[in-house]
């Protein structure tokens, strides 16, 4: 409260001090306890998933040895091993991406090239009854991104779409340039490069949509996801001053759209 002298001039302030040191300490302790609990849950979930995949890898290697004279059977075993190993790689990646403070190394990227490369590496993970189509936008602007982060986005989106289409379907990845109006948060206005992921899968209702970017939230069966994929993507997008939007209708499919500000050679990071 300001204190005024006889002339009506500000001469000082009067107030009440409260020592909130203990309150801050308790808040920090609570936060730490919650973080440790979350880490514990994460570790348990990851261990469970890794044990499952180790069983698949070890077991199929043993089966292949037992049925070595049956080439088709051996090939099937090898395919199972590949899928399990790739799943394990994804889990490790997500774990690392979630745990570190993200020392990212952005470089100017040709987004279409990067996506085309990553789409090729998707084939062991996407069953034959799902058709993947990449539609690269023409004259795409450049962006400055860490290529590992872009790879994470594509892989996570593709695997989520796969899991939403257990009976098969279509996954379409498309790029384009749009001009966005200014919004709250980290999003700059102006030209952006957008990547959309559309699937013809099960879709999600409003109740699920409210939670999809929360860490550990998942609608998948155990062993099929850690609940960190979309949370990781959300973190990457925000870190790069981008935006992510989702549109989904139960029974009709889902579209995720991520947008990143264009990189202009005459405009350094601000």
């Amino acid at each position: 409260m300001p204190v005024l002298d006889e002339g009506g001039n500000l001469s000082g302030y009067r107030g009440v001090d409260s020592d909130i040191t203990e309150k801050r300490l308790m808040e920090q302790q609570l936060f730490q306890a919650q973080k440790m609990e979350a880490i514990g849950q994460l570790a348990g979930g990851i261990a469970h998933d890794f044990n499952n995949k180790l069983m698949v890898i070890h077991g199929n290697a043993a089966l292949a040895r037992m049925e070595i004279d049956d080439a088709a059977r051996v090939l099937d075993c090898l395919q199972e091993i590949t899928v399990a190993a790739e799943h394990s790689r994804q889990m490790t990646r997500q774990l690392l991406g979630f745990s570190r403070k993200q020392e990212i190394k952005p470089v100017v990227l040709d987004v279409n090239s990067c996506i085309a490369q990553t789409v090729k590496s998707l084939s062991p993970l996407i069953p034959d009854h799902i058709r993947v189509t990449f539609l690269p936008g023409a004259d795409l602007l450049q962006v400055k991104l860490d290529p590992v982060q872009l790879d994470q986005i594509i892989m996570n989106m593709a695997l989520n779409a796969r899991d939403a289409m257990p009976e098969g379907g279509l996954l379409t990845i498309e790029t384009g340039t749009v001009t966005l109006a200014a919004k709250q948060g980290n999003v700059n206005s102006g030209d952006h490069v957008c990547i959309s992921f559309s699937d013809s899968g099960t879709g999600m209702d409003q109740e699920i949509l409210q939670h999809i970017f929360e860490p550990f939230f998942t609608t998948k069966q155990q062993g099929k996801g850690t609940g960190l994929g979309l949370a990781t993507i959300h973190g990457i997008v925000r870190q790069n001053r981008g935006s992510i939007e989702v549109q989904s209708t139960p029974g009709q499919g889902t579209v995720f759209t991520t947008c990143f500000p264009r990189h202009a050679a005459d405009r350094e990071d601000t």
Binding site: N51, M55, A62, L63, Q221
Partner: protein, 127 residues
């Protein structure tokens, strides 16, 4: 030859164990979660059930509890990928719910088929 139900939500695990057991000439039926497993158990007879613990819909503990409530139940192997849970308390809980064997994942072919063979012999001897 025996009739065996496998309950696990990881399709790769189901495929692997099916291959193991079919090599031993057993007849295998599969379920992707506890709810489907209980449905299968209520309409068919099985000599042995192999169930995962952590599953959606209804988990392995619910399957075991359902089996315990039945007048006759098959032999049961409980498996879990959450090794940290296989402490003494957990094993006792499994035993209480009538799991005949508890195996931590990853389970290899020899261990699984030996466990199946042992329990099927016990079942035959008890008849």
């Amino acid at each position: 030859m025996a009739r065996i139900l496998i309950i696990d939500d990881d399709p790769q695990i189901v495929k692997l164990m099916t291959a193991y057991l079919q090599r031993e000439e057993h007849e295998v039926v599969t379920a992707e979660d506890g709810k489907e497993g209980i449905r299968q158990l209520s309409v068919q007879q099985f000599d042995l059930v192999i169930t995962d613990i952590v599953m959606p819909e209804r988990d392995g503990l619910e399957v075991l509890a359902w089996l315990k409530s039945q007048p006759q139940c098959p032999k049961v192997i409980a498996m879990s990928g959450s090794s940290a849970r296989l402490d003494q308390d957990f094993i006792l809980k499994m035993a209480h719910f009538s799991a005949d064997k508890v195996l931590p994942k990853p389970v290899d072919c020899e261990t699984l088929t030996a466990a199946v063979h042992e329990l099927l012999q016990d079942r035959a001897a008890a008849k």
